[in-house]
C-alpha cells in the first residue's frame, strides 16, 4: 500500500500581525479624537458693577490707555488716550497677527518708557459695539493672552464712540 506522507499535523495558524497593527492604529485614532474634541475654557474677569466699586476707581494717565472699539465687518478702531483728545488715532485695523497685534506689542514696550515706571504699563480697554460678533470678543481676548497684556478690561461703548464707528462705516 502506498503511504501518504502527511508528516506532522499542521496547525492552522493565521498571521495576526496585520490585524494587530490595524487595531492599534484605530486605538490611537480614537484616543486622540476623544481628547481633542474636548472644548477649552477661556477665563474672563469682569470689573465689579456694584456701587462700592466706584469709590475705588483710579484715575490713570491718558498716555497709558488704549481703547479698542470692536465694530462690524471684523474691524477694530483704536485710539490712545481720551476720546475728545486722542494722543493717537483713531485708526481702523484688522484682527490677528497683521492687524492689532504689532500695535499692541509696540505699545506694551513703549508705555513703560513714557511713564518711566515698569510697573505702569499699558491698560487696554475693550469696548464691543452692538454690531460686533461674539467671535470678535473672543478674538480680542485671545489677542490679550498672546501679547500677554497685563491689564485689560471690557467696558460699555459710549454713544460718541458709536458715532466714531458709524463715520468709518463699521456700524452696520
Amino acid at each position: 500500500m502506498a503511504e501518504l506522507n502527511t508528516g506532522k499535523k499542521q496547525q492552522p495558524r493565521v498571521d495576526l500581525t496585520a490585524m494587530v497593527d490595524l487595531a492599534f492604529l484605530l486605538i490611537t485614532f480614537f484616543m486622540l479624537t476623544t481628547s481633542i474634541s474636548k472644548p477649552y475654557a477661556m477665563d474672563v474677569a469682569m470689573p465689579d458693577k456694584t456701587d462700592e466699586a466706584e469709590k475705588d476707581q483710579l484715575d490713570v494717565a491718558d498716555n497709558r490707555t488704549i481703547t479698542l472699539l470692536l465694530g462690524s465687518d471684523n474691524k477694530i478702531e483704536y485710539y490712545m488716550g481720551l476720546l475728545d483728545a486722542p494722543i493717537e488715532g483713531p485708526t481702523v485695523v484688522d484682527y490677528g497677527k497683521n492687524g492689532i497685534r504689532p500695535i499692541l506689542l509696540e505699545k506694551i514696550k513703549q508705555v513703560p518708557q513714557i511713564t518711566g515706571d515698569p510697573e505702569k504699563g499699558l491698560i487696554v480697554i475693550i469696548r464691543p459695539s452692538d454690531k460686533s460678533h461674539y467671535k470678535n470678543l473672543v478674538d480680542i481676548l485671545d489677542e490679550m493672552k498672546i501679547v500677554s497684556a497685563k491689564q485689560y478690561m471690557i467696558g460699555d461703548i459710549s454713544p460718541l464712540e458709536v458715532e466714531l464707528l458709524e463715520r468709518e462705516g463699521l456700524y452696520k
Partner: protein
C-alpha cells in the same frame, strides 16, 4: 564526542493575546467616543489659543446661539434635581419622582417653565427636534434664566459644597448684545468671573 543539539526557537510570536487586548481597548474607545448625547442647540464655537480644558464637575453652562436663544445646563444629576426642586418651589410647580429622575438626565434644556413638564415627558430624540426648544426667557419682565442660574448655584453649593463655575458657550456669529445680556445677568449676581468656551485655534 556528544553532539550538542541546538534547539532552534521559532521566530513567530503568538499574536492572539495581543490582538484580544487591542480589540478590547478599541471597543472601549469607540463606545466612549460615541456615547455623547446630541446637543439641543448646536453651536459653532469661536477659536482661541487657550489650552485650559473645561472642568467636568460643578459647572453651569449657558449656551447662546441661533439668534439669541438661551439654553442652560448644569453638571451632576443630584445638582439637577436639587435645582429643579428650588425652581418648583419658586414658581409653585410640583414634580413627581419620575419627572425628577428624567430631568436629572437632561444635559441642557431651553424651554420656559410652562413647557418644562412637556419636555421632561419627551424622549431624547424628540427633545432635539428643531422647533420645540425655543430658549429660556431672559427678558427683564420674566427672567427665568437668572432664576435657573441662581438655583443651580445654590444647588451646587448644597450638594457638592463647592462654588459653581459658570461658562458661556456662544456661537461665533452671535451678536454681542445677546452675550452682553448673559454677562449682565451674571454680574447682577456678582459673578464677575466666568469662562468662555472655545475651540482650539489651529493655525496662526
Amino acid at each position: 564526542m556528544g553532539k550538542i543539539k541546538v534547539k532552534r526557537a521559532s521566530t513567530t510570536i503568538d499574536m492572539t493575546a495581543m490582538c484580544d487586548v487591542s480589540f478590547l481597548l478599541l471597543t472601549f474607545f469607540i463606545l466612549t467616543a460615541t456615547a455623547r448625547q446630541p446637543e439641543p442647540l448646536p453651536v459653532d464655537m469661536p477659536a482661541s489659543t487657550v489650552q485650559i480644558k473645561v472642568p467636568d464637575t460643578d459647572l453651569g453652562t449657558v449656551t447662546v446661539g441661533d439668534g439669541g436663544k438661551m439654553f442652560f445646563g448644569v453638571t451632576g444629576p443630584k445638582v439637577r434635581v436639587n435645582m429643579l426642586n428650588r425652581m418648583g418651589e419658586k414658581y409653585g410647580l410640583t414634580f413627581s419622582e419620575d419627572e425628577k429622575q428624567r430631568f436629572s438626565l437632561i444635559d441642557a434644556f431651553g424651554v420656559p417653565l410652562s413647557r418644562l413638564k412637556q419636555l421632561i415627558a419627551m424622549d431624547n430624540a424628540q427633545r432635539v427636534d428643531a422647533g420645540f426648544q425655543q430658549g429660556i426667557p431672559s427678558d427683564s419682565t420674566d427672567n427665568q434664566l437668572k432664576e435657573w442660574i441662581m438655583a443651580a448655584r445654590l444647588a451646587t453649593a448644597e450638594e457638592n459644597d463647592k462654588q459653581m463655575r459658570i461658562a458661556i458657550k456662544g456661537d461665533a456669529n452671535e451678536d454681542y448684545p445677546a452675550i452682553k445680556k448673559v454677562i449682565d445677568i451674571l454680574q447682577d449676581q456678582s459673578l464677575n468671573k466666568f469662562s468662555l468656551i472655545t475651540n482650539l485655534r489651529v493655525a496662526d
